[in-house]
Structure formats: structure tokens, C-alpha cells
Amino acid sequence: MWTWFHKLASPPHFYRLAGIFGPWLLWPSLILLAIGMYGGLVLAPPDYQQGDGFRIMYVHVPSAYLSTTIYALMAVASAVGLIWRIKLAHAVAASAAPIGASFTAVALVTGMLWGKPMWGTYWEWDPRLTSELILLFIYFGYMSLRASFEDISKADRASGLLAVIGVVNLPIIHYSVIWWSSLHQGPRIKKIGTPSIGDDMLWPLLLLIGASTLFFGAMLLYRVRAEVLDREHNSRWVHDMLGETTEAG
């Protein structure tokens, strides 16, 4: 187990594996996203209360799910990087941040677009909305903190610490709709066994959540490869690899 882990954490090995699995994740995820979109926009019946407006759920929920899941992954990777000094873990955290930030922004704006017709307002300083906005700022803070260091290992340590501290925001986002009275509705699919939405509405949502996760995986692999190259461009294996390709080509 540990030898396997160490081999995976070695940059050349990871670089090669990510190059193989990246495209294999990307294309299936895009196909599944397309199927899920068709299911959500066409096949699912209109909601009895919200009509066709509820369809915003099919982009809002996967984005919101990704925004927190990516942050959790980023915080765990940062902690692993800080504790065991694994550079690849920092590379993973740094690569996850821009993807997470983009989906957090989409979750916020699609939420506003959903809020306007249903609640009558784009924005309300509601616990769920505010904590999600704070998440976006933490992502931005993380990325600008990284960018402010010339030295990559200093950037790793400082931004890693920020990512780990920022994790306190995740339970606040998750439980905000339960702890405080909120405009935002509670979780609808988590009640195991008895989800409060019908099957024909539920499957596109679950498919989209799964496909978005695969899509994130593909994007992460592309970005970690680039990050590994940035960190290792003075090392022997990169020179060997690029020497071969340039001489052959």
C-alpha cells in the first residue's frame, strides 16, 4: 500500500498516469453531462410549484456540490502536503483551486437566477448565500496568496495553511439551512430512501452530479500535469522526456 502510494506520488509516474487517464475521464464525462442535460431540460416533467423554473436545479446543484467537494479535496491535499511534505499534494491543491472557484461562481450566479423568479430577489444576505460567497473569497484569497510568492515551496506552505483553516467554512455552508431559518431550501435528495423529488426528476440530477465529478477529475489531471512540469522543469526526467520528443520530432 505504501510503496504504491509513494510510486503514485512520484512526479514522473503521476505525470504519465495523468496523461493516460485525463482524456479517458474527459470524454465520458462530457457525454454523460450531455445526457444529463437532455434529461433535465427535456425529459423531466415541470415541477408542480415552480414550473420549468426548477430546471435551474440541474446546473445549480452540481455546481454547488462541486464548489464544496473541490474545497474539501483541496484542504485534504494541502494538509497531506503540509504534514508529509509531499509536493505532489500541494500541486493537486493548487490545481483544484481555479476549478473550484469557477464552479463556486456558477453556483452563486445560477442561484441568483433561480432566486429572482422564486423568492423575488437576486440576492439576500442569507446564511447559505453568504457562506457560499465567503467560499468564493477563500478560493480567490488562496489563489492570490499563491501568486504573491516567487518561491513555490513558500507559496505551498502559506496557501496550504489558508486552505486548511478555511475548511471551517464547509460545515457552515452545509448546515446553514438547518441551523438558521433560511430562504434556501433544505437538502431534497439526501433523505435516504425517501427523496422528496420523483425519479424522473432525480436521475438527471444524480447523473449530472456524477458526470460533473468526472469532469472535475479530468480538469484536475490536466492542471496537475502542468503544475508538475512547472515544478520539475529542471529535473532529469523532464529533460529526458522532452529531449526524446524534440529530437524525434
Binding site: 433561480w114 480538469m219 490536466y222 502542468a226 520539475e232 529531449g243
Partner: protein, 63 residues
């Protein structure tokens, strides 16, 4: 078809939300690929500099 586009009166909200989401997916693909290309170019430059230095070192050792 017109009914589908009208989205029961919610067209502007539904289509902007889906459009934004689609733009985000495309943006992620384009930016990840661009980042990888830039990193690969820079690594190739570093490798070329390294080979250049080594070749010079070998020439100096011979003389």
C-alpha cells in the same frame, strides 16, 4: 419547440443559468489546456538550455 424555448415563462432565467454553466465547462477545458501548453513550452525551453550547457561543457572538456 417554442414551448420548450419559452420554459413556461422562465426562459431568461433558465437559459442564462444553463448558458453560464456551459460557458464554465468550456472555460475550464480551454484554460486547463492553455496552462498545460504554456508549462510544456517552458519545460522544453529549460530542457533545451540544459542540453546547450551540457554540449558546451563537453566541448570545453575536450579543449
Amino acid at each position: 419547440m417554442a414551448d420548450f424555448i419559452a420554459m413556461g415563462g422562465y426562459a431568461q432565467f433558465v437559459w442564462s443559468a444553463f448558458g453560464l454553466w456551459f460557458a464554465c465547462v468550456i472555460f475550464n477545458i480551454v484554460s486547463a489546456r492553455r496552462k498545460f501548453r504554456v508549462s510544456l513550452e517552458q519545460a522544453a525551453l529549460a530542457a533545451a538550455r540544459h542540453r546547450h550547457r551540457q554540449a558546451r561543457k563537453i566541448r570545453q572538456d575536450k579543449t
